[in-house]
Structure formats: structure tokens, C-alpha cells
Symmetry: C2
Subunit: 124 residues, 2 copies
DNA sequence: CAGTATATCGTACATTTGTACAAGCTGTCA
DNA sequence: TGACAGCTTGTACAAATGTACGATATACTG
């Protein structure tokens, strides 16, 4: 099994990668259209980011007409796992509990979220 | 109230900042000593990172003997809040539930934790 | 007081990141 | 078929990042 370590994701790359995941398959234009309203960033920049994501191994593409259609080259799960892991290490020394507490105490998650979550984990 | 927006933290800076928080007050040497075993990074590099953290406004220092003693210049809480917020935005579009879910599914957090969490948020 | 161990300071430098323009292809529609 | 809208490619470039050396300053120790 080739569990090779892809080059790290930069913040902006992560932001773009998330949108590709969301769209499943996406052209540069598609990604641009999905950018949050306030995000002022040019088509060309999105394109560069997608190019880099592909070079780094996170995306692949096929051609449709004259456009590139990008899609995930590695499982989202795996990327999330690593990103969260790295983040946890850096900010909390790897201990997830403080993060959870933070989320709870700062209203990032509310009672409803907990309910949903409870259902999710119970089901497992 | 001066809620100014400090320059973003880089991953390595975050890593070092966490150690200063942990130590409360720390010299370059102290930080080096707290680095996890595998982390190969020179004294000089740690020093640069601390310098940058101070320039960015996250740390301040006073002198003790010939050494600088660094400590937090802004509340850890505030930094955490922003870091987690940014991270959540980039990777999950701001929705914390998938993150919690990830934590849950990887055995980092179990049903009991969620129960406690529920109580925590209910009480608020 | 002079030497030594320990600090900081100034600086450097290759990469990565964020951002984007300009030039050159290529479907498509009139 | 020829022009045009829409894409990609090549390239650029300043700023941030990760990493660290060499020179200089300074507190202790004998």
C-alpha cells in the first residue's frame, strides 16, 4: 500500500480543495462560482491553486471540451485525517479534548449539534 | 477596545507558541528543551520563530540575566479562537459538526464525552 | 580581570505561498 | 470557415516561511 506523504496543504489550497470536494467534479469556473461572496480572488489565482493541488497529488483532472475538470485524487477522509491531526498537534499537542471543549464553550456547537452528533455516534 | 487583527500564525510559529503557553514564561533554551524528541530544529531557528512571534504581537519578553524570557502578549483563548475558526472555515466551511464527527469516529472522543459535552452546553 | 559558556542580533537564503497578467490554443456559432 | 468567447500555459514576483550561520555582547568563574 502506497501511503505516501503528500506535500503539505497551504491554507488557500485547503480552501480550494474543500470546494472541489463539495462539487465532486469541478472546472476552474465552477470553483470560482462556489467561492463565498466576500472572497475576492481572481480566476487566474484559483487556477494556479488547482494546478498546484494537482501537482501536489491531491487532485487529478480529465478534459471536457477545452476545460479541465478536477476531482479528488486521494480520499477526502485521508486528507481530513491528516489535516486535523496536524492542527491538533500544533495547537493542542495532539490532545483533542481541549479542542472539543473549546467548540462547546464558545457556542461553535450548540445543543442541536450535540444531538445530531449523539445520534451519529450512537448509530455506529 | 483594541481588538486588532494580528498577522496570521504560520504552522511552525503555532507549534512554538504552544510551548510558550505551556511553560508560561520561557527562554529560547526552555522552548528547545520542551520540543518533542523527534523534532529536529536548531536553537537558532527556535530563536527566530520566537522573535517573529514577538514582532507579530503574540509574545513579549523581559530580560533575565542575559536571556530573554518570553511570555504571551495576548490571551491564549483569543488566539485559539481565531485559529480554530480559520481552520474550521478552510476545511469544513465553518461547520464544526464534521470536525466533532471526525474526532468521534476516530476514537478520540466517545459517547460519554458527548454526554458531558451536552451537559456543558445545556447549562449555558 | 580574563576566559568561557551562553545569548542575542543581524543577516541570509532557498522555498513556498498568494496573487495574477499575457500569450496562445480550441470549441462553437453565425 | 473564421472570429470570438473561454481555457490553459508559461511566467512573474513580492511576501511569508523554515532554517540557520557568524559576529558580537555579557554574565559568571577561577
Amino acid at each position: 500500500m502506497t501511503k505516501r506523504r503528500l506535500p503539505a496543504l497551504s491554507p488557500s489550497e485547503t480552501e480550494i480543495l474543500r470546494l472541489v470536494w463539495l462539487l465532486d467534479k469541478a472546472t476552474v469556473q465552477n470553483v470560482c462560482d462556489k467561492l463565498p461572496a466576500g472572497r475576492k480572488i481572481s480566476y487566474a489565482t484559483v487556477q494556479t491553486l488547482l494546478r498546484r493541488l494537482e501537482k501536489k497529488g491531491y487532485l487529478k483532472h480529465h478534459i471536457r471540451g477545452k476545460a479541465h475538470v478536477f476531482s479528488a485524487a486521494v480520499k477526502r477522509e485521508a486528507v481530513i485525517k491528516r489535516s486535523v491531526g496536524d492542527f491538533l498537534d500544533r495547537l493542542f499537542g495532539g490532545d483533542p479534548v481541549p479542542l472539543m471543549q473549546y467548540l462547546a464553550e464558545h457556542g461553535k456547537i450548540d445543543a442541536d449539534d450535540i444531538e445530531r452528533l449523539k445520534r451519529l455516534t450512537d448509530k455506529k
